[in-house]
């Protein structure tokens, strides 16, 4: 009995060691964002300063159009995710029921394709259409990220939901749209939540599309925080504060929806093979 307890304590500490790089990194990130320039330049480094520099956060929102960029991020991520759910959930259902395993290969190829190779032709197309100054180019190209995630998660989910109910509804004369809408969809709610969360996170984090397609007014948060770097001499405090503001929504979402994310990624990744 005591050896089993010892075992558990050992495992706990082993896990703690593994998690420590993540904990230390985020602690240091918070520390950087709350220190005045003097403290950030101190040697040896200071973890907890005497005076907290809350002004770093105020500076992020005052001296940059961070509220605008945040709104842009919300619009791009939100629209691209909703569109992806609208077309990706039925697609995942169809593919799962058709047992079209080859379509998984298509999604795999979508994953293999470097984002930049979409960007050259679509950049030229958007330029030709004259919509480069709007958010639409980014919304459209974010579908490259969101649609495969949603389809992927939903295939995995619909494969595990029982067929019996659907067959019964089918025999009762329901059309396949009705079967999907009234039988399959309600059961699939947890799967849709997973797809929704993962799609939001990876769209929110995307940088490469924005860096090419965004103009001054259409920047999303990752591009905005990167652009802060190129301003003359930026001090570390505000920069770290900006970085934290960008990634905080995603981290909070991760902590709250940890279980769903783990389930979705495990299933999704495994399907990828």
């Amino acid at each position: 009995m005591s050896s089993r307890l010892l075992n558990k304590v050992g495992l706990f500490f082993a896990a703690l060691v593994l998690v420590s790089p993540a904990i230390l990194f985020f602690l240091w990130m918070i520390s950087l964002s709350l220190k005045f320039e003097i403290d950030n330049g101190a040697y040896p480094p200071i973890l907890i300063p005497e005076h907290f520099a809350w002004s770093n956060y105020a500076m992020v929102f005052q001296e940059n159009d961070f509220l605008l960029y945040m709104w842009n991020s919300v619009l791009v991520t939100g629209t691209a995710t909703l569109l992806a759910l609208l077309i990706g959930v039925p697609a995942g259902y169809g593919i799962a029921r058709l047992k079209a395993e080859r379509s998984a290969v298509v999604i795999m190829i979508a994953r293999m394709t470097p984002g930049l190779s979409y960007l050259i032709p679509l950049f030229l197309l958007f330029q030709w259409l004259g919509i480069l100054g709007t958010l639409w180019p980014q919304i459209i190209i974010h579908l490259v990220v969101t649609v495969p995630i949603v389809v992927w998660v939903m295939i995995g989910y619909f494969e595990t939901t029982p067929m019996e109910l659907e067959e019964a509804a089918n025999i009762d004369g329901a059309s396949s749209w009705q079967v999907f809408r009234l039988v399959a969809l309600p059961i699939a709610k947890p799967g849709i939540v997973v797809a929704f969360i993962l799609s939001i996170i990876f769209s929110w984090n995307n940088f490469v599309f924005g860096v090419v397609l965004a103009s001054r007014e259409t920047r999303t948060l990752p591009v905005a925080v990167y652009n802060m770097l190129s301003y003359e001499q930026v001090s570390w405090g505000p920069l770290a504060a900006a970085a934290l503001v960008v990634t905080l929504p995603v981290l909070v979402l991760t902590l709250f929806a940890q279980r769903q994310i783990v389930a979705g990624l495990t299933a999704g990744a495994v399907k990828g093979g």
Binding site: K8, T113, F123, V147, L239, T247
Partner: protein, 312 residues
């Protein structure tokens, strides 16, 4: 959703007028069509266009002309391209090996039961969910040769200060450290999925036969999770080859071109020099490299399964 309407009509008429009680299998294609259209628009069209562009000579703002294989020949003799290919392969190899080892160890630990497991696993997964650019900015500060916290930590254990991403020789390993920090959790999750599917019984009989922990891992666990390890290797390889955010935000391929991977060189060619034709040719070759490597790994996976099947 109008694509569904004809299907609905079809099934109903079948149900009412069909003399046989046997129903047709429902038609699922209408569900897939909208996604196919979108995938076609944002994935297939760009590919066709890229292929066409790659046989043209076109710098934005200048006139376009057909160039045949010229861009590809230029690529073959471009030392900067070969250098970037070498950087890509080094970066990828290191970024697969590190996370695979650490991720597997982590999965073995998180598969067991211990206090606070759920919370710790949640924190462990956080790096891969964090915004890469934000992460890269903070790492850049930590790598700072004079003020960075990493050199201070090294000094505590008596290791001299490093130049990290600011030195030609250490830039790629430093970037790989960040990549490893961020993506080890994904490997952990995949392997954890594999461990969950491992049955209990063989271990119980092995225990009775007196096999120690290492023997159980080597001869039972490892073969059973091998397919999952292979999937993790493939996904990690693809992602590492494509890595952009971390490298671009931290070094932009520098110092000089010491950390310029194909993806970064491609970006510079297409969106700094606006050489669209040459950039497209590079995109095509880059994609071929990714597919070829993935294909080789898939073949290895198939072969290992085949050997596995033969062995039984």
């Amino acid at each position: 959703m109008s694509a569904i309407a004809p299907e609905r009509a079809g099934v109903t008429t079948q149900g009412i007028e069909g003399s046989q009680p046997v129903r047709l299998a429902p038609n699922y294609w209408p569900f897939v069509v909208p996604a196919l259209v979108v995938v076609g628009a944002v994935i297939v069209f760009p590919w066709a266009f890229t292929l066409w562009m790659s046989v043209n000579s076109w710098t934005l703002g200048q006139s376009r002309s057909f160039a045949g294989m010229e861009n590809y020949l230029r690529l073959a003799t471009d030392p900067r391209f070969w250098e970037s290919l070498w950087h890509t392969l080094t970066y990828t190899f290191l970024s697969v090996v590190g996370p695979m080892f650490l991720g597997t160890v982590a999965a073995l630990i998180f598969d067991a039961k211990f206090p606070l497991r759920g919370l710790l696993r949640g924190v462990f997964v956080m790096p891969m969910m964090a915004t890469p650019v934000a992460v890269a900015l903070v790492w850049t500060m930590m790598f700072h040769p004079q003020l960075g916290v990493l050199n201070y930590l090294l000094s505590l254990v008596g290791i001299p200060a490093q130049e990290w991403i600011f030195n030609v020789n250490t830039v790629i390993p430093s970037l790989v450290a960040v990549e490893t920090w961020q993506w080890t959790p994904l490997v952990m999750l995949i392997v954890l999925g594999g461990l969950a599917s491992v049955p209990r019984e063989p271990f119980e009989s092995a225990e009775i036969d007196g096999a120690n922990a290492w023997q159980q891992f080597r001869y039972l666990t490892l073969p059973m999770i091998a397919p999952f390890l292979m999937i993790a290797v493939i996904i990690r390889t693809i992602d590492a080859l494509k890595s952009f955010d971390i490298i671009y935000a931290m070094t932009q391929g520098g110092p000089g071109t010491a950390s310029e991977t194909i993806n970064i060189y491609l970006y510079n060619t297409a969106f700094s020099y606006y050489d669209m034709g040459y950039g497209s040719a590079m995109a095509v070759v880059f994609f071929i490299v990714i597919v070829a490597l993935s294909f080789i790994l898939l073949m290895l996976r198939q072969r290992s399964q085949w050997i596995d099947a033969e062995g039984r």
